[in-house]
């Protein structure tokens, strides 16, 4: 009924499913958001990257109608999150540390409850629950209380719970924090298939790697402000892209290895970052195969060889000139000095 705004984004017309302008929110004297703008075109994933306390969760809570902003506006599919909250709730799914399931209920009972609340009817709710449990590989655990689930199963059930109403817009607040790498990959696959089926996703994360793997665009926030917005590639160009790390089997080979790495790297000479480990910034994945080939030719055996994206700390250091977590400490140190 309400037509969503049409804007030109990256040179093409895109319908914004999520848009926020100038969101401000304070809790007492804590200014959680100080004017945040977000925009997510239909069918895309926005990664909101930031450290603990940056305001990511506050932004998600406002967009999902759990909080009202002190100032600014937000619209989901063209509907205002404050004035049309009830209708917004009909088109969103929310998964986060807070929007969870009932631990005493079984997986099936949880999903049926949400189905009933979403007006699927008794039979519809049951069918939807069975379907989602099957899709999330939880059929065997369907009739066990959620509190008996493992961490990974719990996350899948949380996510299933937010999909009961087949929402068009899905908020995932740090969906993989605390999951081991294999479980994280599973989560990523789920997000990818949701998007492939037309969902629009806003995902908050503390990992550039996660945002890079899933997002079409990344918004970096810090202290309640947007400090960068770009595509993953654009952001990686700014923050220095990837690092190749190599540990020669024989420490005596450190010098020749460093020489090889400096040649495949993007310019800077290789550095010994930890004892026995050399690192060099690289521009693309081909550096990996190239260095493997060159090391093999030189007859140098390695015990460790890996490609890393910058950590959140490194991203923040590049963007703001300071580390993400420690500005309180810095202030205190400065005050003491």
């Amino acid at each position: 009924m309400v037509s969503a705004d049409r804007r030109t984004l990256h040179g093409m017309t895109a319908e914004l499913m999520i848009e926020a302008e100038g969101l401000v929110k304070s809790f007492g004297r804590t200014r959680a958001l100080q004017g945040v703008d977000l925009a997510v075109p239909r069918g895309t994933v926005l990664g909101v990257l930031g450290p603990n306390g940056a305001g990511k969760t506050t932004a998600v809570r406002i967009l999902s109608t759990l909080l009202t902003p002190d100032a600014g506006t937000a619209r989901i599919n063209g509907l205002d999150v404050v004035r049309q909250a009830e209708r917004v709730r009909q088109s969103i799914g929310l998964t986060g540390q807070y929007a969870s399931v009932d631990e005493d209920l079984t997986g099936q009972q949880n999903l049926e409850l949400f189905g009933t609340l979403l007006e699927l009817g008794r039979v519809g709710a049951r069918r939807r629950a069975v379907e989602l449990l099957d899709w999330f590989d939880l059929t065997d655990a369907a009739h066990r209380p959620a509190k008996t689930y493992s961490g990974g199963m719990r996350r899948r059930l949380d996510l299933a719970a937010s999909l009961v109403g087949s929402p068009d817009v899905i908020f995932l607040d740090e969906p993989t924090t605390g999951l081991d790498p294999a479980k994280r990959e599973d989560m990523w696959d789920v997000v990818r298939s949701l998007v492939a089926n037309g969902a629009t996703v806003l995902l908050t994360t503390q990992y550039l790697e996660e945002a890079d793997a899933l997002a079409d665009a990344i918004t970096v926030i810090d202290h309640g402000r947007v400090i960068a917005h770009d595509t993953p590639d654009g952001l990686k160009r700014v923050v220095g892209g990837q690092t190749l790390e190599v540990r020669p089997a024989d420490p005596a080979h450190l010098a020749p290895t460093a020489a090889i790495l400096s040649r495949v790297g993007s310019g800077a000479p290789a550095d010994e970052v930890r004892k026995g480990v050399l690192a060099v910034p690289v521009t693309d994945d081909s550096a990996l195969t190239e260095s493997v080939a060159r090391l093999a030719t030189a007859g140098i055996a390695v015990t460790e060889l890996s490609l890393h994206l910058p950590s959140l700390d490194e991203v923040f250091f590049t963007l703001t000139g300071r580390t993400a977590a420690d500005d309180d400490t810095t202030t205190r140190t400065e005050a003491a000095a």
């Binding site: 009909q90 969870s100 979403l118 899709w135 719970a161 089926n197």
Partner: protein, 275 residues
């Protein structure tokens, strides 16, 4: 895990059709769905019923056999007098649990899920209160059963006795809004317990639960006379024992209405404001 890469199931009505026909009586249906959740939780954690089953048993045994002779001349007479009182006291202390539980629930985040769904704002609280009906029925039945083992006998007709039980359950449901309100306002479950105990303790002792008001000083008699528990207990005694109930049933119902009218809106407002 290969299933996860497939197409997400997308059957059932899409959300836009839900928007188009909100079915009638949404509040009732949602509250009942959420009451069912409370029931499942009660069923799953029967140890949570200990407070409302063991406590009346202990109180009955201790009071009847320690004070019975001194207070009423015989333990049987005192049991007949005390049982409706103990039932009322158990109900009053038993409803503290709903405040504690809701306070815990809200901290866990399931309520945020409810709030992100198109569910009437009051449904989660209404559902929790309705779901507790079962608890109060269990309280009533178990207290009567223990009384029966000790020698308590209903002396009125079955319909009158049933009316007494229903009055007790109704009173519990209405009084529940007080702990629900406290549960919304106070920060921790422990604090809910503390505040409620401070309110319920004087209410249950400054009443005719244990003794008749006759021997009390004038000011205390005045307190006992207006105490809602006194009205409930006197009404139940009349309904169980066949003695006249006077206007105590009406006074009890009036208090019930008062609890709902005052504390339900307060609780709902506090719930909406709680972040």
């Amino acid at each position: 895990m290969s299933t996860l890469t497939g197409t997400p199931p997308r059957t059932g009505p899409t959300l836009s059709t839900v928007v188009a026909n909100p079915r009638p009586l949404r509040l009732v249906r949602h509250s009942l769905a959420l009451a069912k959740r409370s029931l499942i939780k009660t069923w799953r954690t029967p140890e949570a019923l200990i407070d409302v089953t063991l406590q009346p048993a202990l109180f009955l045994v201790i009071f009847v056999y320690v004070f019975g002779g001194a207070v009423a001349g015989s333990t049987h007479d005192y049991l007949q007098y005390l049982l409706p009182g103990i039932l009322a006291q158990t109900i009053a202390t038993g409803c503290i649990a709903i405040g504690v539980n809701l306070n815990t629930d809200i901290a866990k985040g399931i309520f945020d899920r409810f709030r992100s769904l198109p569910v009437p704002r009051s449904a989660p609280l209404l559902g929790a209160v309705l779901g507790d009906v079962v608890r109060y029925v269990i309280v009533t039945v178990s207290t009567l059963a223990i009384g029966y083992l000790l020698g308590f006998r209903i002396e009125a007709g079955p319909l009158r006795a049933l009316a007494g039980c229903l009055l007790a359950v109704l009173f519990a449901l209405c009084l529940s809004w007080l702990p629900v309100y406290v549960g919304m306002k106070v920060r921790t479950p422990g604090a809910v317990q503390g505040v409620m105990f401070a309110l319920i303790m004087p209410l249950s002792f400054a009443s005719n639960v244990f003794v008749t008001a006759g021997t009390l000083p004038g000011w205390m008699q005045a307190v006992v006379t207006v105490n809602p528990l006194t009205h409930l207990v006197t009404a139940m005694r009349g309904l169980f024992l066949g003695t006249p109930v006077g206007d105590h049933v009406w006074w009890t119902l009036l208090w019930c209405a008062g609890f709902v009218v005052v504390f339900m809106p307060l609780a709902l407002r506090a719930y909406r404001r709680r972040v």
